[in-house]
Symmetry: C2
Subunit: 200 residues, 2 copies
Amino acid sequence: MPKIVDHEQRKIELAHAAWRVIQREGLEGVTVRSVATEAGISLGSLRHYFDSQSALLSYSMNQVSERVRGRVEALPFTGDPRQDMQQLLEEMLPMDEERYQETKVWFAFYAKTMVDPELSRLGDELHNELYSNLYESLQKIKRGLGQSAPWDPEAEARRLHALLDGLAMHGIRLTQPLEANMMRKIVHRHLDEMFRMNDA
Amino acid sequence: MPKIVDHEQRKIELAHAAWRVIQREGLEGVTVRSVATEAGISLGSLRHYFDSQSALLSYSMNQVSERVRGRVEALPFTGDPRQDMQQLLEEMLPMDEERYQETKVWFAFYAKTMVDPELSRLGDELHNELYSNLYESLQKIKRGLGQSAPWDPEAEARRLHALLDGLAMHGIRLTQPLEANMMRKIVHRHLDEMFRMNDA
């Protein structure tokens, strides 16, 4: 088994090298050659792990999500839906240096999903995964609030998803990025409303 | 005066040529040369209007905003803050073919503002212009709702701004774009909440 583990470990290191190139030069700078150079290996060795630039980009984009998934799974969920939702949302926003860099890399890939059919498929998968998670959480919240909650979980999940991506986008502006405190306040406010919707 | 008008008219035509190149090939495809070819003029003639690629990009990005501004100014505002706000927000979302194409071009520029200091300045200006408009509208709405409205117009304007950009972004996905009806429903829902916030 160690060989397989090494193989995966090496691919992750190569994804990290691709992220560093993106942070420095934007996605345009990422080629199999530039990533091999960044990782300090030969082009031939890199091709052993990724047989095309597309494969390298897809894997590297997916690794950003893997990292977020890993952090989300490790969150100290309390069972309190309101508090757990706040934790989950904040984990995906660029509120510290690590998540700021991650979000920048994410949006570089995201821009590419707009024009690249290969990456677009992966973009759809990840988009739908987040949407589904939000949808399920909101359905649970709605059940907790009781029958009188007047909202449609689909529309609410789509709204929250758009808000989340909009906040992330505003949080990584080159100048005047949205501040962490403001993001936290906005998420808090949004949940406030969601949880009092049964008062309508 | 006709000469000046012609000059501006020509620059607008060149911006439109740049948009077409972006729609076809992405922003990477836009060079002074490709835009001259697209517009059917010589490189020398194009340089008469724009002395650098930066100048061409800035002008073309600003023209997208000019178009939205023009449409917003022509809206049949009713004086009813709720209805007028819904109109304003929908005007900026990719809910028909024209706004869909416009939004795609907009995000191509937006991605570039992340890495290009020249475009970043313009990006800041346009970002702040929209934020200020939202902020002023929400202040008016809050005054209309009375002292009891418990919200902070800054946080609310930032939230709405993020929601708007997130919806626009989801509305121009290569596959599975958010549908116009869902965008309308979400905006409606968001305003519903905003206007009942004095019930808290």
